[in-house]
């Protein structure tokens, strides 16, 4: 029986050795094609997919292939300075070392792989690198550490989709199994199985199947146990990987051991030891060798010694005190590094937060400054506008004043003429009185009292004339002063006819005095029923003066061109109409051209040569009549024939 078994074992060994070579060739071929695809790929996620695809070729079963692949990836990664490929290179190399039992070196290199993966920022790659690193702890039964890493890898994996994302689940199932937690293991094994789904040819499925087998074995479901182990053995054989076969045999051995079928357990243990002996995965003989020692202890000392040697040599290399210490140190370093990274991250986050806050604050300040500046400028321009307004108002006042003074200039000569007459009377009557007084004395000396009395009577009459003409001159001067003075704005009952007549004379004589050749016939037609109306006499006087001056100017200009048959005429008339008083000033001068008639009441509009008019006369007149008196000022004209301005005032 034993011979047959041994024979079977030998045959298996031969077959598998042959199969191994074939399988390795297939794997190499597959990996080469994946590698050439990877060389061309530029998209990060697709690169990671390709890297995971290496592991779906069952390359895990052959450590030397992994080391070889790792080397090639490292060359490519360093050459391209591609953190994704570099990370995958370190992962492959580390896995190779792990599978050959060199855990210290493997863990060191896994550290680099995780570093690079983090550097690349690719979540899929990080999941993978961490998952791979966790194997070290899984193998060494440092279950808590392994769980923590696999769960991290799973958390990353859950954020992504694609091939190989079931790795952490599968491994978690194994770890829980190692911990004796069948239910947790079952949970993760099912997840892994669901995710593996259609990928039948996957060697890793052997692990999943044997996990299920072990779970059922422990639960006592022997039918299910057999089903899964059959499946596991089948897949492992197809993979031709000593590693997967070893794992399956060990699981079977444990199953038989659990169910006290020690011979079967020993048989599978020896199968597990043999399948890996003289292979890079020789370290996997540790567990079955240990079991065989126990088995042979009381049965066969030779075998006991043989397996003790196997066990001891592996245990020395894998679990030496020095190796344990190094692993611990590396683990500590890794954890420290993680804490550092975390601290760095927090610092970085704080920095960013502070930065954002500062930027926000700066933006806020900028906006505030901008608004403040706007406000300031508005205030400034408001001030400037106020100043300009004040200046404009001052200028307007000055202009009105200068317009008044200009019209005063027009008046001066007229006024002088007007004063001249009363003054002549004053002087003459005064001289006459002097003579009469002499005569009165003479008559009195003669005793001719009645004659003296007559003369005294004359003197008295003359005295009254002197007084009258003195007052007349006084009134004219007062009127002139009033004209130049700012309007008091006080309305008073005024005889519009007298006012119109007075200003007509002033305007006429004013012009006459300046232009001695000036001749014009002036006609007046005052309606006596106008009576007194409530107006500001200075202001209305100014309007009249302006209209008269314009009229005289117009006829003068016309008479220059048509001297022969032209009879220049200015007429003024008043009329009471319902509740209004109409004052019309008409001249038969040049008239106003149609195209400028609408402009005549605009300020600074003038047709007079520069220096002869301010252009404010009609504009001011318009304001005085409309705003000051609630009246109207209208113009009617025919070019070349006449111009008629009508003042309409409420009576």
């Amino acid at each position: 029986m034993r011979k047959i078994l041994l024979l079977f074992g030998f045959a298996m060994l031969c077959i598998t050795t042959q199969g191994q070579e074939q399988m390795q060739d297939i794997i190499k071929y597959k990996c080469d094609s994946i590698f050439s695809l990877l060389e061309k790929e530029t998209n990060s996620d697709r690169k990671v997919e390709l890297i995971i695809n290496f592991y779906l070729t069952s390359i895990d079963g052959f450590p030397f292939l992994l080391l070889d692949l790792g080397q090639r990836l490292l060359v490519l990664g360093e050459q391209r300075k591609d953190p994704i490929i570099e990370s995958s290179a370190w992962s492959a190399l580390a896995q190779g070392h792990r599978l050959t039992g060199n855990y210290v070196k493997a863990l060191q290199i896994h550290g680099k792989a995780v570093d690079m993966a983090e550097k690349s920022g690719n979540i899929k790659l990080m999941s993978f690198a961490i998952n791979q690193m966790a194997h070290i702890y899984k193998d060494r039964l440092e279950n808590e550490k392994a769980l923590s890493l696999y769960k991290t890898a799973l958390a990353y994996a859950e954020q992504t989709k694609g091939v190989g994302m079931w790795f952490p689940s599968m491994n978690l199932a194994t770890v829980y199994l190692n911990m004796g937690k069948q239910d947790s293991s079952l949970h993760y094994a099912r997840i892994a199985q669901r995710q593996v789904g259609t990928m039948n040819m996957l060697s890793n499925a052997a692990i999943i199947a044997s996990t299920f087998g072990t779970i059922h074995s422990r639960k006592g479901n022997l039918d299910s146990t057999r089903f899964y182990f059959d499946e596991s053995v089948k897949i492992a054989r197809e993979s031709a990987s000593p590693r997967y076969l070893n794992a399956t045999y060990v699981a079977l051995a444990e199953h038989f051991h659990l169910h006290k079928q020690y011979d079967s357990a020993a048989w599978y243990c020896s199968m597990a030891v043999n399948i890996v002996s003289n292979t890079p995965s020789a370290n996997l003989a540790l567990k079955p060798a240990r079991m065989l020692i126990d088995y042979y202890q009381d049965r066969n000392p030779d075998s006991t010694v043989k397996y003790w040697r196997v066990y001891a040599s592996i245990n020395d290399s894998v679990n030496s005190a020095r190796a344990n210490q190094q692993i611990q140190m590396l683990t500590l370093e890794e954890e420290q590094r993680k804490r550092d990274i975390e601290a760095e991250n927090i610092k970085y986050r704080n920095k960013i937060r502070t930065g954002l806050l500062l930027v926000g604050l700066a933006l806020f300040l900028l906006v505030a400054l901008y608004l403040l500046r706007n406000n300031r400028q508005k205030q400034k321009s408001n001030l400037a506008l106020q100043k300009t307004l004040a200046e404009l108002q001052t200028t307007q006042k000055q202009l009105i004043q200068s317009e008044k003074m200009a019209s005063l200039g027009e008046l001066t000569a007229g006024i002088a003429h007007e004063i001249q007459n009363p003054l002549n009377f004053v002087n003459n009557f005064s001289e006459v009185n002097s003579e009469l007084i002499e005569e009165a004395h003479a008559e009195m000396d003669k005793g001719n009292i009645p004659e003296a009395r007559n003369i005294l009577h004359d003197i008295k009459e003359n005295e009254q004339k002197i007084n009258h003409h003195g007052k007349r001159a006084d009134a004219i001067v007062k009127g002139m002063l009033q004209h130049s003075r700012n309007s008091t704005g006080q309305k008073e009952l005024t005889n519009i006819n007298e006012l119109a007549d007075e200003y007509l004379r002033l305007a006429y004589h004013g012009l006459r005095a300046r232009d001695k050749s000036f001749q014009a016939s002036v006609t007046t037609d005052f309606d006596p029923s106008t009576g007194k109306i409530n107006i500001i006499p200075q202001d209305i006087g100014r309007v009249l003066l302006n209209l008269f001056t314009n009229a005289f100017y117009s006829i003068t200009e016309k008479s220059k061109h048509r001297p022969e048959d032209y009879q220049p005429t200015v007429s003024v008339s008043t009329k009471k109409l319902n509740n209004t008083i109409l004052v019309k000033i008409r001249d038969n001068g040049m008239g106003i051209p149609k195209e400028i008639i609408h402009k005549v009441f605009q300020p600074f509009f003038t047709t007079k040569p520069t220096g002869q008019g301010t252009g404010l006369g009609l504009s001011l007149s318009y304001d005085i009549i409309t705003k000051g008196h609630g009246g109207e000022l209208k113009a009617e004209t025919k070019e070349g024939e006449f111009a008629e301005f009508t003042i309409i005032l409420p009576s």
């Binding site: 003429h417 003459n428 005095a513 001749q519 016939s521 007046t524």
Partner: protein, 125 residues
């Protein structure tokens, strides 16, 4: 001889009557007054053929002194009245125009009554 004074200032009458009171009293001069050109023409119509010396202001509302001068010189040839023009504006233009129309003399205001008296006496002789 009648002297017609034409001026729109009514007090001219009182003034002349005072100034020439001795001449008037001695009937050496007789003054008539008109206060506008139109009034003066009316006077001329009703006193035709009387030897008349006319003293007229030029600047008057309505018919001006120059217009009056023109009409008088056109209408009244026998005997031709002596027309003396008085104006506040003693400019060359006025003067030339008056002379062209046949004015016999040209006086400027204010009137020097001593000079005027002399001129009137000369003309009346």
């Amino acid at each position: 001889m009648k002297i017609l004074v034409v001026d729109d200032e009514k007090d001219v009458q009182v003034l002349f009557e005072q100034r020439f009171r001795k001449e008037i009293r001695s009937a050496e001069m007789e003054f008539m007054f008109a206060f506008s050109g139109e009034e003066a023409l009316q006077f001329m119509q009703s006193n035709e053929h009387e030897a008349v010396l006319i003293l007229s202001d030029i600047n008057m509302p309505g018919m001006s002194g120059l217009e009056l001068l023109k009409q008088i010189k056109e209408k009244y040839e026998a005997p031709p009245p002596v027309v003396m023009m008085i104006t506040a504006y003693g400019d060359a233009d006025n003067y030339n125009q008056a002379m062209k129309l046949g004015a016999d003399d040209f006086l400027t205001k204010p009137l020097d009554f001593t000079v005027l008296k002399e001129k009137l006496k000369t003309n009346l002789v």
